[in-house]
């Protein structure tokens, strides 16, 4: 293996295993890439579990009676237990997501308080937004012979936790929004800062779900669920792509990030590993 005279680092081998070993030993961005891939893995598995396995998304009808709710639990009994078992296993990956987003704020020209606030708020928000829903629905699925009124109570609690506790996310989004807009290091494009406003407003739009059991404002309604979810999906895809671009552009300095962060596509000369 030849050795780069400039940096004292061996050149990257061409084989897949050699490349992985090289990145593991010499790539300064290895931890950032691991966090990013953990985030992508988490969101993909989250989608598979909540949509495909447990059928929590889209949520079932809020107006169902005791018998219909009990039937729903019986029908998805295995999916609920297996799916939420997976969620309990991978829920710790939210730490990687929060860490990478907090890292983006540490790279900005803003106070560290932004990153610390974000981690604190989003660590808290995982409890009602994901874990409590998973625990309560697993409890409901665990004993299908339980009193249907109790099952119905668990059903309401789980879906209101899942859909109706968005306020905790609101402040986290606000923290990121302000950090991006006042940042001078151009870590993220300003349009993404403004997109945070859209995501923040969805937290208000979902509020009527506490009042309505049917219609467009209920927990599975067109406005409170579908349009909100569409905005959230756009927002999530945008920040995953922009975090990837941030890692590609990272120079471990404390000034403006090199390259153009405004485009969602790779800037020439900033392909993965090109900085080595």
């Amino acid at each position: 293996m030849s050795v780069s005279l400039e940096q004292g680092i061996p050149f990257r081998p061409s084989g897949p295993f050699g490349r992985i070993a090289w990145h593991w030993r010499h790539d300064r961005k290895a931890e950032l890439w691991m966090s990013w891939y953990a985030m992508v893995f988490f969101y993909n598995l989250f989608g598979v579990v909540f949509v495909g396995l447990t059928h929590v998304m889209p949520p079932p009808q809020p107006y169902w009676d005791d018998a219909e709710v009990a039937q729903w639990f019986r029908h998805y009994h295995s999916g609920l237990l297996v799916g939420f078992g997976i969620i309990f296993l991978i829920s710790g990956l939210v730490a990687a997501c929060n860490a990478l987003i907090a890292y983006s704020m540490r790279r900005m020209s803003v106070s560290r308080a932004f990153a610390y606030s974000y981690i604190a708020i989003y660590s808290l928000s995982a409890t009602p937004g994901m874990l409590l829903t998973a625990i309560v629905l697993s409890v409901g699925a665990m004993r299908p012979e339980r009193d249907p009124r109790l099952i119905h109570w668990l059903y309401d609690m789980a879906f209101m936790c899942f859909v109706g506790t968005m306020g905790v996310f609101l402040i986290g989004t606000l923290v990121w929004l302000i950090a991006i807009l006042i940042d001078r290091n151009k870590v993220f494009p300003k349009w993404f800062g403004y997109l945070n406003i859209c995501n923040m407003i969805t937290e208000f739009v979902v509020a009527p779900a506490w009042i309505f059991k049917a219609g467009v404002f209920s927990w599975n309604g067109t406005i409170a669920f579908w349009i909100d979810t569409a905005v959230f999906v756009v927002y999530t895809i945008a920040f995953i792509v922009l975090l990837r671009k941030m890692i590609e552009r990272e120079d471990f300095g404390d000034g403006p990030l090199p390259g153009n962060g405004a485009s969602l596509f790779l800037a020439p000369g900033l392909q993965e590993g090109s900085d080595q």
């Binding site: 494009p189 300003k190 997109l195 407003i201 739009v205 009042i211 309505f212 349009i227």
Partner: protein
């Protein structure tokens, strides 16, 4: 698009054309327009399923409040445009005065809206009274939320106009773009809720 005196390459016939403010804010405006359009489409579909209820409920609203709110916001948008123009001409004191007037219009709009809501609630017209009023309170509340965020934008514009060292015409225009969006959305909401028969 805005014309300005040419200062470098790209000038055509002595003038260059550019989008006022940050293009990022225009991307936001387009995305917001898309979200609100989806609300309006859902409203129209629900209205089509029970037109009698929506018409009867619509008649309970006060057109005077709707028209007043519209005029106040249109006036504020006009003042904001004058502010941008004054700022371009480097008449920063005049521009600052215009922003203050815009903020007063915004406060007047919010005050009128709160008074209108309290009056309607006093008449027993609540969020859950029927589907029309659910949409009415939802659309006007989400819009009012945008007006409140608009006060932050106005604050940024005031800060820019008062800071000779860090003054940015682009940021003043960005704030103006946001405020015009708030006005534009209200005009559609007004037409849908108060006017359309």
């Amino acid at each position: 698009m805005t014309d300005a005196a040419a200062t470098g390459s790209g000038a055509t016939g002595g003038r260059v054309r550019y989008v006022p403010g940050q293009p990022d804010m225009w991307a936001f405006v387009l995305f917001e327009a898309l979200i609100f359009s989806s609300y309006f489409i859902v409203y129209m579909i629900r209205r089509g399923s029970d037109p009698d209820l929506f018409l009867a409920s619509q008649e309970r609203l006060s057109p005077a409040f709707g028209v007043s709110n519209t005029l106040v916001l249109l006036l504020s948008s006009w003042l904001m445009a004058r502010c941008v123009q004054a700022s371009r001409e480097k008449k920063y004191d005049v521009a600052l005065g215009q922003v203050i007037l815009v903020a007063i219009c915004g406060l007047l709009f919010a005050g009128l809206k709160l008074f209108e809501w309290s009056r309607e609630m006093g008449e027993g017209l609540r969020f859950s009274t029927n589907e029309f009023f659910s949409f009415y309170y939802f659309l006007t509340a989400i819009h009012l939320l945008h007006v409140l965020i608009g006060f932050v934008a106005l604050g940024v514009a005031v800060y820019q106009l008062r800071s000779p060292l860090s003054r940015s015409q682009e940021i003043v225009e960005t704030c103006a773009t946001y405020w015009h969006m708030v006005d534009f959305l209200w005009v559609i909401i007004f037409a849908l809720l108060y006017v359309m028969r």
